[in-house]
């Protein structure tokens, strides 16, 4: 069974239109289990739309999405979403925010808080359990959003430009931590970004999306530097080559 379905997520001929505007046309893409796949492209290429269709938050106009072989009909416990603007409840503490996914699933208070506590420590927010989101920095808020997504223990993590609202240094730290997560958590990561460097740095597979009409132009699988030390990736010749190559092909789509 597990041998047969080696892709955790399969997108099959998905189209999406809003009235006359075509956001996605006949898009097909596979997301290998246990790996991180980036959706990279200029703004307006429909990458967030695709992610929300996979999340079950938006219905596709046609086509199908499969999670572990099961078609998506709506949001499900097999997926967890990390939001660009964090989407934390400002009236709730860090602990309640992290435990919220479990709270909605009816997990008892003591149990869900124990789980939340574990992930709060894992993302490095120990001591902030009873702080409110407005007392945290942007980077810390996204750690809360990440801990919330991790604590429901979903197979697939959907991340919508998760680091775009945090500062550059925090972002680099996040990217390194993300590599650790992909290694240690046995999960499949879908990662939307508009940063070429970020995509190449964190991804096992990069899907380059082009706008008008939206389609997958190319899928790139960096092979050489993934197992190296995180600190040397940015100096790796293959890393630099891929960054250059992607920029060369995206350049003409940037206004």
């Amino acid at each position: 069974m597990t041998g047969r379905i080696e892709n955790a997520v399969t997108v099959h001929n998905v189209s999406k239109s809003y009235g006359d505007v075509e956001a996605l046309r006949d898009l097909s893409l596979d997301f290998p289990r246990g790996q991180l796949t980036s959706l990279l492209g200029p703004s307006g290429c429909g990458k967030t739309t695709l992610l929300k269709i996979i999340a079950g938050l938006l219905p596709a106009s046609s086509g199908e999405v499969f999670i572990n072989g099961t078609p998506v009909t709506g949001p499900g416990a097999d997926r967890a979403f990390v939001f660009q603007d964090f989407a934390l409840m400002p009236w709730a503490t860090v602990l309640r925010n992290v435990a919220f996914g479990l709270e909605l699933r009816g997990v008892s208070r003591s149990e869900r808080e124990a789980i939340a506590e574990k992930y709060i420590i894992e993302v490095g927010l120990k001591g902030f359990e009873h702080s409110f989101p407005h007392e945290l920095s942007g980077g810390m808020r996204q750690r809360v959003g990440l801990a919330r997504a991790l604590s429901v223990d979903a197979d697939v993590l959907l991340m919508d430009e998760p680091f775009s609202a945090v500062d550059e240094q925090t972002r680099r730290k996040f990217q390194e931590d993300l590599l650790g997560l992909v290694q240690n958590e046995n999960k499949t990561f879908l990662f939307v970004t508009h940063s070429i460097e970020e995509a190449v740095y964190v991804s096992d597979q990069i899907a380059i999306l082009l706008p008008r009409p939206s389609r997958v132009m190319e899928v790139i699988r960096p092979s050489g530097f993934r197992d190296r030390d995180v600190n040397s990736i940015r100096r790796d010749p293959e890393y630099l080559d891929i960054v250059d190559r992607i920029w060369a092909s995206l350049k003409s789509y940037v206004e």
Partner: protein
């Protein structure tokens, strides 16, 4: 506070020189208040008014807040109800009171309904506004983690709209004070309404003022308490 004392002193002065029978000295009003404050008719009036007021405002909140939230959430419900809410919000409701008397009789029921009618519309509108400005990704977040419609309603929509809801409730309470007094004056002469009627028709001006001051003070305290609650939740209203 100091301006209040200044105006009080001016009142006392005007009262002492006996410019008009209509305005007795403030000190006389307070001593009348002490006198009638503990008497049976006064306590009874206070109870009757408080009874009608609390049931009226409570039903305005219990009906108004969920209605407003539903209107903010659903386009269909909104389009069905919004014209009526706006109509009643601006309508001179006092003119409706005779109709209420015909429909619900001359008793407590009609007074309570009048109170509710005065309070409910602004509560509906504010709850609706609170829900409409909700951060859309909070809604998506609750959906993506599998929230049922009821859970989204009680765990997200209500709390996200709470600052606006409380603002609406505060204004609703102020309007409800009008409603309950108008009800007690027009529908059946009970509660504070009966005291007003009694004192005014007998030209007992210090009695009249004493009751009025109690009423003003009560509604002021309630409004201030709600404003305090509003400030308590403002910290997150500004940071949504």
């Amino acid at each position: 506070m100091s301006s209040l004392i200044l105006w009080g002193l001016l009142w006392e002065f005007v009262g002492q020189i006996e410019l008009t029978f209509f305005l007795p000295p403030l000190s006389a009003i307070f001593s009348t208040l002490m006198e009638i404050g503990g008497t049976k008719p006064f306590i009874k009036a206070l109870q009757e008014t408080a009874h009608a007021f609390s049931i009226g405002t409570l039903s305005a909140i219990l009906i108004g807040v969920p209605t407003g939230i539903l209107m903010g959430k659903s386009r269909l419900i909104d389009e069905l109800l919004l014209p009526w809410v706006n109509l009643f919000l601006s309508a001179p409701l006092t003119a409706l009171v005779p109709v209420l008397m015909v429909l619900f009789g001359f008793g407590l029921k009609a007074i309570i309904i009048t109170t509710t009618l005065f309070a409910i519309w602004i509560i509906v509108l504010n709850s609706r506004a609170g829900v409409m400005q909700i951060n859309q990704s909070l809604v998506e977040m609750s959906r993506s983690f599998g929230a049922s419609p009821l859970a989204a309603f009680t765990k997200i929509y209500f709390w996200a709209a709470l600052p606006e809801i409380l603002g609406g409730v505060r204004i609703g309470f102020i309007r409800a004070v009008k409603g309950v007094i108008i009800g007690q004056l027009l529908i059946s002469i009970v509660g504070f309404g009966s005291l007003f009627e009694l004192y005014a028709s007998n030209f007992l001006m210090s009695h009249f003022w004493a009751v009025l001051i109690v009423l003003f003070a009560l509604s002021f305290v309630i409004a201030e308490f709600l404003a305090y609650l509003e400030r308590r939740v403002e910290y997150y209203a500004a940071r949504r």
